[in-house]
Subunit: 203 residues, 2 copies
Amino acid sequence: MARLSFREQVLRVREDAIVSSVNRLLAEKGFDSMTVDEVAADVGIAKASLYKHFASKEALAAAAMVRVLQRAMHVIEAEADKPDASASDRLRAVTRWTLQVQLAGEMPSLPSQNSTLRSALIADRVYIDLLMEVSERLGQWIVQAQRDGSLTSQLPPEVILYTLFARACDPVLGFLKAGGQHSDEQIVDWVLSSCFDGLAARA
Amino acid sequence: MARLSFREQVLRVREDAIVSSVNRLLAEKGFDSMTVDEVAADVGIAKASLYKHFASKEALAAAAMVRVLQRAMHVIEAEADKPDASASDRLRAVTRWTLQVQLAGEMPSLPSQNSTLRSALIADRVYIDLLMEVSERLGQWIVQAQRDGSLTSQLPPEVILYTLFARACDPVLGFLKAGGQHSDEQIVDWVLSSCFDGLAARA
DNA sequence: GTCTATAGCCAGATAGAC
DNA sequence: GTCTATCTGGCTATAGAC
């Protein structure tokens, strides 16, 4: 790893602050409602300065997505290091982390319809590579869990993978939180249970 | 029911055409990306004429939501009329319908973050009343199914209700459809199974 | 690289003739 | 009620001084 000059470190820190703001605002308001002016105000710099760091609003969102995927990879690696956990345990743990992040208002949410954003994301090599890596790691655990009989074999691994990914934007968390009746832990437990155990009664 | 004059009937038909366009565009692009110009072009009238029928873009979206809730109520009533169905069967059937509508590109999707839209919706008495009625009808079936042991009692009825509602915007359907590998029926079956039976293997 | 100021665009809503 | 033409505001992005 090359040593960074002081100037480069300052740059890093500033960009990190920008991405943090973007991440939070994306979680709060979504991509379309978030304005670049807001981001600049939140970071405490001028809008034009933002554009010296990131070429476009889409690039800002992509950076936030890259960061959350990096966090996810760290969680995955931490789970992989636990010697006694089953594949199913690991998937549950990663899914739990996803729900917690969303409930904490730290999960950036992107509209799947916005085409300019989609284009920017699939053109972003770093983002795509990370997404593939996360998918592969989870995919291996899914297949393993199906083999050892802890996850259903009725569903293709692909369907299970997508279902887990979708927990990152599950609106049920927000509904329950809006009610204000339950603790975050309780909410996460319920959604996790509905996801893995289903709504139907177990025999 | 009062007889409508010819002029009023023409009005009805036109507004119905407008709501149809809005419904489809909302399903396709979402509220933020949908423009009023597009709606006008799709219906084939001038934008100013649209505003003679609906006061705002939010009102257009509300009308589409009212319509889809009316469709849902019809489905619910049709299910209620089936003499031999269990509460659980009825919930599955209504959920299946929801998934089919979404997969057919006919489910209007609204961003939960947009505040002006939220305000417009909760101010719309017709929308709120319908939403409450649908919730109550489903809620009764949920409690009943929990009592007869076909739905889990581990989760509060509220959680189950929200989980079913959330199927209307489940991104898993879109992911699987985008792959182009599977039939719509197959996709619906999988998602329905993941929802009710869960991802974990059944004993 | 940071700022202020502004260009350029687009979309929601309206004016006013017919 | 329908149209054409326009207003208005907000947002992304940039120019240009320092």
